[in-house]
């Protein structure tokens, strides 16, 4: 089974392109691939590559760009296989601590790696990374592990300890609790994003790079939360 998140690059709005179309179609195509079994669990980069190629099969060109983070759980081997392109990412939390996380892929400040399809006249000018450039990791998971997948809107506004605090409140692994926790994390990040005095991770990073900035970073925030549990039919 697979989880994926993609963050559409908002700059396309200025060119009359709906930024959510590319990221949405990318994820829906990944979903289709997984549903139809056209993937290898240990090769999530393959899912990304195939999905991107399928996007190119549209007659009407689908313009836009996005990051992508795919996480695949192999039930038989109890291993999690991940692929990450850009600055979305995942955390694996075990016993209240982060045991695995993705690395951000940035070309330069605020310019993450991204898959894109540009109009022909803009090809070569628009940043377009190959799906092969995605970072790929694999590791074992245990029952009770919490997997959090999110766009940079979360990680730029909420440092790890705050996320872990929220996850501690997760009492059991039923659907409603998980839904509730995911929502509260997203809402909290959203609040912090609009706090002008708050020293967000984004602001901290900017300062480290010589930019005198404070406050959160308003952005779209998507949070996916899942727990490794016993398989029931």
């Amino acid at each position: 089974m697979g989880i994926g998140v993609a963050d559409g690059v908002g700059g396309w709005r200025d060119y009359g392109v709906d930024p959510s179309q590319f990221s949405g179609t990318l994820m829906r195509t990944c979903e289709r691939l997984v549903k139809e079994g056209r993937f290898v669990p240990s090769n999530p980069v393959g899912i990304l590559t195939t999905s991107y190629c399928e996007l190119l099969q549209n007659k009407v060109p689908l313009l836009g760009s996005s990051t992508a983070c795919i996480v695949v759980l192999d039930r038989t081997s109890h291993r999690l296989h991940t692929a990450n392109l850009g600055d979305s990412g995942f955390l694996v939390v075990r016993g209240g601590e982060v045991v695995h996380r993705s690395d951000e892929q940035q070309h330069y400040f605020n310019t993450p790696f991204q898959l894109s399809i540009a109009p022909p006249e803009a090809e070569g000018v628009v940043l377009s990374d190959s799906p092969d450039a995605a970072d790929s990791t694999s590791f074992d998971v245990q029952l009770g592990d919490i997997i959090l997948t999110a766009t940079d809107g979360l990680f730029d506004n909420m440092p790890d300890y705050m996320i872990l605090q929220e996850l501690k409140k997760l009492k059991n692994s039923n659907y409603e609790s998980i839904q509730q926790t995911a929502r509260s994390i997203a809402e909290q990040a959203h609040e912090l994003a609009y706090d002008p005095t708050y020293m967000s991770p984004f602001a901290q990073f900017a300062c480290d790079n010589g930019l005198n900035v404070r406050g959160g970073k308003p952005d779209d925030i998507t949070v996916l939360l899942s727990i490794v549990a016993e398989y029931t039919d």
Partner: protein
């Protein structure tokens, strides 16, 4: 005559009329009542529950629009539940065949049809679907999501594709068949043909389509099979008496397959000898032959049973110079070939497309037939011939020394080494390798030795590694090439195009659809326009780099251009350039210019038609 007879006649007529009326009511209301019929059956026989199934797997098909190994516009999308329906439109998650309309019949690579095609055979493409459980079908729903109306036949097979043992008998039954009819509008619909009841359970359904009346590609989303596990009780209510059914199909069933049974008859029984053949004795031999030349093959076989004279005529090899067995694909097997081989010694055009699968024709059966009948062959159609293997190609290469046309379209089970034998057929003028596994070395060899090649199709040949090399070889060796299909040839670049355009100057048709490695900025399209003035058809399908200059060059140089497939964006400049194209190219022919895949497609066509008509009114005509 006693008064009883008229009375009996009247009574029987009366009874017949009543029966017919009941039958007709059943026919009209049958589709809506079938559920009720099943339900009423339910009350009587509770075990006969109706099962609804979506296709589990797509087993075979003759063509599709999408790329091999893709989920977009490929036939595999027909399996499973619907992805799009009830929405209408052009969606990648649907199943789309390769062609539509009559464009492919009007281009330089169009082929002459076989004569004697039976009037009720319209099929151009097919797809075979397997379902999980064999059932007696009660209904088939076809979910069409764009430009519906292409399905012309639905068939069911008695063999279970998932059974471990090979089937004892493979029988195909036509559940429904109709001539292509124009459907108004491109909107999605659920198509439920009135299928007939069959006496065997099936989980293998075949759809045959004809897209010639469509304005655009038809798109299919899913096929739903309703059926019952237990054989339903046949009653007058559920039996359909359809006038269309009383034709060849039923007769052939009674004959037990037409050709075989009649041949058996002749090998044993003595024909009744008549002292004269009446007026047939007065007709010259050639005239009787001419009359017979209008009969379809099954009729020819039936006619042969009538008397010795006509038997002689019907078995005359001169009647079998052109032989198409594709319409009878469901019934052709080794035995049929055996019975035909004595008559086919002079055959020049042979169509065995779609035949022989699921064990119907064996390699030895085919080889034997070829060895006896192959020497005069000029044209051989073997599309979707999954029974073929390397030996068969070897036999063809050895015996068909005069072969000019070979069609191996969608023979995707042929191993790559089989294609090595084709190079031996030096007389080849037309070679179709669409969707085959031909490899680079074999193809280079073919191009090297078949210098007479005029028509070549390499559409979706995914095993070729370097198309530039292929194009270069073509440019060097295939000087007579007139039509070339490089649809979805993934890695051809401007270098290959340059060599092709320089060497094959007679090219009239070039399909470079979905070749993403061709970029207009390299000047490759301008090169094509300048070097290939005879172009009548140029497909640059889905190439997003085509620009105004390219169109201008085409307008200036390719005055015979009739079919053009380009991706038109909404940029206004493109329209004025197309206007130029219309203006400079020959008016009469440019009317059929197609601007496909355009989001404003209808608008585009309308615009072009309007302008073309306007031009025609004002212009003084032009040189062709």
């Amino acid at each position: 005559m006693s008064p009883v007879f008229p009375m009996l006649t009247v009574l029987s007529m009366f009874y017949y009329i009543c029966l017919r009326r009941r039958a007709r009511t059943a026919t009209r209301g049958e589709m809506m009542n079938s559920r009720r019929a099943i339900e009423s059956n339910n009350r009587a026989l509770p075990i006969n529950v109706e099962i609804v199934q979506y296709a589990k797997e797509v087993l075979d098909f003759s063509s599709h629009y999408g790329s091999e190994n893709s989920m977009s516009y490929t036939m595999w999308n027909l399996a499973g539940i619907q992805n799009v329906y009830p929405s209408s439109g052009d969606f990648t998650q649907t199943a789309v065949f390769r062609t539509y309309g009559t464009w492919w019949d009007q281009c330089p690579s169009a082929r002459l049809p076989f004569k004697r095609t039976p009037p009720n055979f319209y099929s151009q493409d097919y797809v075979e679907l397997a379902f999980e459980d064999p059932v007696y079908p009660t209904a088939v729903h076809i979910l069409e999501t764009y430009h519906p109306g292409a399905v012309v036949r639905v068939l069911a097979c008695s063999a279970n594709p998932y059974s471990q043992n090979p089937p004892a008998e493979v029988r195909w039954e036509v559940l429904w068949s109709e001539a292509p009819t124009k459907v108004n509008g491109p909107q999605a619909r659920q198509f439920t043909p009135c299928i007939k009841q069959i006496n065997f359970p099936t989980n293998l359904i075949r759809l045959e389509v004809n897209s010639s009346l469509l304005d655009y590609y038809t798109e299919l989303d899913a096929v739903v099979l309703h059926g019952v596990k237990e054989r339903p009780v046949l009653s007058l209510k559920t039996t359909m008496i359809d006038m269309n059914d009383i034709d060849e199909d039923e007769d052939e069933e009674k004959d037990g397959g037409g050709m075989e049974s009649l041949n058996k008859q002749f090998s044993v029984a003595a024909l009744k000898e008549w002292p004269t053949n009446g007026y047939f004795d007065k007709l010259p031999y050639e005239l009787i032959q001419l009359i017979l030349s209008h009969l379809t093959v099954p009729d020819l076989c039936r006619l042969a049973q009538t008397c010795k004279l006509l038997y002689q005529h019907c078995c005359d090899p001169l009647q079998y110079i052109h032989l198409s067995l594709q319409p009878y694909w469901a019934r052709i097997n080794d035995t049929s070939l055996e019975y035909l081989q004595s008559r086919c010694t002079l055959v020049q055009w042979l169509n065995l497309s779609w035949t022989g699968n699921r064990g119907a024709i064996s390699v030895s059966g085919f080889s034997r037939f070829m060895k006896i009948c192959g020497s005069e062959l000029v044209r051989l159609e073997l599309a979707c011939g999954h029974f073929l293997n390397e030996t068969c190609l070897e036999v063809i290469a050895e015996t068909c020394v005069n072969l000019q046309e070979l069609n191996l379209s969608s023979c995707d089970k042929l191993p790559p080494q089989a294609f090595n034998h084709i190079a031996k057929v030096g007389s080849l003028k037309r070679l179709i390798l669409y969707r085959t596994k031909v490899e680079q070395t074999a193809l280079l060899s073919i191009l090297n030795f078949c210098s007479e090649l005029q028509h070549l199709s390499l559409g979706s040949c995914v095993m070729i590694e370097d198309y530039d090399l292929i194009a270069s070889m073509m440019g060097a060796k295939c000087k007579k090439l007139r039509t070339l299909d490089l649809w979805r040839c993934k890695n051809i670049t401007e270098n290959g195009i340059a060599e092709l355009a320089s060497g094959c100057q007679l090219l009239e048709e070039l399909d470079l659809g979905w070749c993403p490695t061709l970029q207009s900025s390299t000047g490759c399209f301008t090169n094509i326009a300048r070097k290939l003035p005879n172009l009548q058809k140029l497909f640059l399908t889905a190439n997003r780099s085509v620009c105004d200059t390219d169109i201008e060059e085409l307008a200036a140089n390719c005055t015979h251009l009739r079919q053009l497939d380009i991706l038109v964006n909404t940029d206004h400049q493109m329209w004025s350039v197309i206007w130029d194209l219309l203006h400079y190219c020959c008016l009469q022919s440019i009317l059929s210019c197609i601007v496909s895949h355009c989001p404003l497609e209808k608008q585009a066509k309308h615009f072009i038609q309007q302008q073309a008509v306007a031009l025609q009114k004002t212009s003084k005509g032009c040189q062709n």
